[in-house]
Subunit: 98 residues, 2 copies
DNA sequence: GTGCGTGTTTCGAATTTCGAAACAACCTCA
DNA sequence: TGAGGTTGTTTCGAAATTCGAAACACGCAC
């Protein structure tokens, strides 16, 4: 349940998503997440670090072993999101068949 | 990306989690999610309904076909959370080997 | 030293969430 | 009929979170 609390915070999932391919610096993360403010970014970075999911490295922040496993666990969610987006498009075009 | 926005809201994932086994009424959801306030619950229920993930039924709120697929997609995340919780326990007991 | 690119913190304003109370609709039992 | 219980839902002020922009610190090239 603690996981739901951790990820039920704005930008937490998104930050993990951006880090899945490799380490990124703080300002790069800010640039990639449009609408994310630096104050919240550093709050999330602290939380994720404290929970052993990411860690600071020479190239910025990177996923730990746990974080990498999480990234894999998030893959099905990503695939679902794609089919979900398609369903949304259909609904927008033809709201009748809800 | 819209999915991250939807789930990056407090209690959204938890509500889905509680509905995975079958329909639940609003007051039951409130009882199961300690700390969730009714105002936020109904906000989430509206959002999830608008996005075609849940739907009101005779027995309360239930997952739609899309919602059920999402529930499956969340399974790996749940498994990860278990190993994560174990790692957290270890760290609490022996913070040295971070 | 000056200028630039980072990492990070600070702070007031805007938004979100909490918490509790309330209203409405139903059902049951006298 | 109506008094009491259960559930669904809305409202509203207070507390917490997030935004947005500015600032400080540090290293590096010129």
């Amino acid at each position: 349940m603690a996981a739901m609390d951790l990820f039920g915070r704005r930008w937490a999932l998104r930050i993990l998503w951006e880090l899945r391919a490799g380490p990124l610096g703080a300002r790069t993360l800010l640039a990639r997440c449009e609408g994310l403010s630096s104050s919240v970014l550093y709050q999330r970075l602290r939380e994720l670090t404290a929970n052993g999911i990411i860690a600071p490295s020479a190239d910025g922040y990177e996923l730990t072993r746990l974080g990498a496993a999480l990234s894999h666990a998030l893959q099905p969610l990503n695939e679902w999101a794609i089919t979900w987006a398609q369903a949304q498009e259909l609904n927008d075009r033809n709201p009748a068949e809800a």
